[in-house]
């Protein structure tokens, strides 16, 4: 048994201010292969993203050169005679505004629904029902958007039209609900409702994920102090989940902004900036592309590519912001 526990080397052997060591890790061959495959897969998505952006930029570059910033702000979309480029004029201002208007309507309708659904699933729902409802939600999320479009066009349109008329009748004095002519079909309001239905699942599942991480010990503290379930939600869960819910809503916004077919089927494409949401005038960038793609000439096709690039960047930005916000909520949980 050693009698001396501290080695009595001189300061020369063990200096008081040593140089920091480099910590080297050697990976084995299987680790290296696995690492390579995983890293490659992860990088691939970035490469594909960059290639898409590059392709759109390459095809649309001429348009940005010809129209400059006016391509974003102008509302005129005119292919001209299809031969002389000077007769054409392209601008997606109205479509960008239309995208935002329909997406915001969708968001305003979907978020409260998603919030309520998430709270119910997380705090009130019996567990047998929760399993069932969660899979229904996943199923709803997987329905192709063209189905929503057809449903919106064939079934919901008549209800949406009469709801629009009713809102206009009673609240028509409010500028948003004003209409120039009594035509209520194919309006941004209807498109927004259809989009709302589409984004409820994604917003719900993000909200649920955030709510489920609310600090359990603090919720317990509320209960133990005679608080109701609702007090626990109001004082702990909702404040904790606020930024996560915003992030989830923005993920929904990203989806709604880029939605093509559903909007194409239920919205009247008109090149005019319109904030009268009940009027039969609207559009969004994606449905513009779908609408014009088939019959577009060479030059217009380039304009559509440019429009695609703008939409791509806007959606990317919204999604990044959303992910950052959701991530921040999870990071602060402790």
């Amino acid at each position: 048994m050693p009698t001396q526990l501290v080695s009595d080397a001189s300061p020369d052997t063990f200096p008081d201010n040593p140089v920091g060591r480099v910590i080297a890790t050697e990976y084995g061959p299987s680790d290296k292969v696995f690492r390579g495959v995983i890293t490659g897969g992860a990088m691939m998505s970035l490469v594909i993203l960059a290639l898409i952006a590059g392709f759109l930029l390459f095809r649309g570059l001429e348009i940005f050169r010809d129209f400059g910033f006016g391509f974003i702000t102008s509302v005129r979309w005119d292919a001209g005679d299809g031969i002389d480029k000077a007769t054409a004029s392209f601008g997606i201002g109205a479509m960008l505004v239309g995208s935002v208007v329909t997406a915001v309507i969708a968001l305003l309708i979907a978020t409260p629904f998603a919030m309520g659904t998430a709270l119910f699933l997380e705090f009130y729902c019996p567990s047998w029902l929760r399993i069932f409802l969660t899979s229904v939600l996943d199923l709803v999320a997987a329905i192709p958007s063209v189905i929503y479009g057809v449903w919106g066009y064939a079934i919901f349109m008549q209800y949406g039209t009469s709801w629009g008329r009713a809102i206009n009748e009673h609240l028509g004095w409010f500028p948003l609900f004003h209409v120039p002519s009594p035509n209520f079909g194919r309006s941004p309001f209807i498109a927004g409702m259809v989009l709302a239905l589409m984004i409820v699942p994604i917003t719900t599942s993000v909200a649920r994920a955030v709510y489920s991480q609310a600090p359990r010990d603090q919720i317990d503290a509320v209960y133990a102090l005679g608080g109701s379930r609702w007090s626990g939600i109001r004082h702990i869960v909702l404040p904790f989940g606020r930024s996560g819910l915003i992030g989830g809503a923005m993920l929904g916004l990203g989806r709604a902004l880029g939605e093509t077919v559903a909007v194409y089927l239920v919205l009247n494409l008109v090149f005019r900036i319109n904030f009268q949401i009940l009027a039969s005038v609207g559009g969004n960038v994606a449905s513009l592309i779908a609408n014009r793609f088939g019959e577009a000439g060479e030059y217009e096709l380039k304009a559509l590519m440019a429009a695609g690039l703008v939409l791509f960047l806007v959606t990317l930005l919204v999604n990044f912001a959303a992910t950052a916000i959701v991530g921040r909520t999870r990071g602060t949980e402790s």
Binding site: S127, P215, D217, Q218, D220, A221, V222, Y223, A224, L225, G226, G227, S228, S231, H235, I236, P239
Partner: protein, 281 residues
């Protein structure tokens, strides 16, 4: 006159004279459980616990990990039912009324039976003062004089002197031991008759533990305290009565309950003697 903690008189061999200190002759029990069982799903975790908690005294629940002490504690203020798949059987009496009777309001019960948790859990977004007043706020109870209530509760929790000049600081700015005493003050603000403590010192340093034990001792003059603890010395120091739980690879059950000094000096069951002397667990 409470002479035995368990209802099952045959299991406890102490005589009334031995078990009853003279000062507690007129004592009644604040709470009583009869034939309590608990399950999580199909897992039977607590079997047939009948126990009384004498008024204005401290009862320690001791036993190895996983013997159902905490589950038992959470049954006393109906926190058990917040765990999914949790089920129970038996009766818990407070003032002669079963707290699980149909129509009994669980939230109101929890105003009378307060709880302090293992990990200090003050509300981080509230100030010290707001934390103390959280109970009345949540239960929408009117408080005539908030300042007095805050001072009274913090004093009784042994924290007033340290925080009286910074009541508007956030609760999270306090040390762990201070946070736990803040949680005690918060639990006191709704004026409970019974205070349940689930290993309140297990996350704290020895100095803070000592302060909390002093607080428990002072509080027990005016209220009934039930404390779960893993620490035998702590049980010996703070409790008047002790109940020993054991699971033995099955559902947890009560082995014996008696005056703390009897449990530690002359328990009737060999397993109790082995446990309190540190031979297992």
């Amino acid at each position: 006159m409470i002479t035995m903690l368990t209802n099952n008189t045959s299991a406890v061999e102490t005589t009334p004279q031995q078990a009853s200190p003279a000062s507690e002759v007129e004592q009644t029990s604040a709470m009583e459980t009869r034939g309590i069982h608990a399950w999580f799903g199909k897992n039977h975790v607590l079997r047939n616990v009948s126990l009384q908690f004498p008024s204005n005294s401290v009862t320690g629940l001791i036993g190895p990990s996983g013997c159902g002490k905490s589950t038992f504690l959470r049954l006393l203020n109906r926190m058990h039912e917040f765990i999914p798949t949790a089920a129970m059987a038996g009766e818990v009496f407070l003032d002669g009324q079963d707290i699980y009777r149909p129509g009994a309001a669980a939230a109101e019960l929890r105003l009378r039976v307060g709880m302090v948790f293992q990990k200090p859990n003050p509300f981080p977004s509230m100030t010290i003062q707001q934390n103390v007043l959280a109970g009345p706020t949540l239960s929408k109870t009117k408080v005539a004089n908030k300042k007095d209530l805050v001072e009274d509760c913090l004093t009784r929790a042994g924290l007033w002197k340290e925080v009286k000049d910074r009541l508007d600081a956030y609760g999270s700015s306090l040390s762990g031991g201070q946070q736990q005493r803040l949680c005690i003050a918060r639990a006191l603000a709704v004026r409970p008759d019974v205070l349940l403590m689930d290993e309140p010192c297990s996350a704290l340093d020895p100095g803070s533990t000592l302060r909390i034990e002093e607080t428990i001792h002072e509080l027990s003059e005016s209220m009934t305290i039930v404390i779960v603890t893993h620490n035998m010395q702590q049980a010996a120091r703070v409790s008047d009565y002790c109940a020993f739980f054991l699971s033995e690879d099955g559902p947890g059950h009560l082995v014996e309950a008696d005056l703390t000094k009897v449990i530690f000096s002359n328990p009737s069951d060999q397993r109790t003697a082995d446990y309190v002397q540190g031979r297992f667990g």
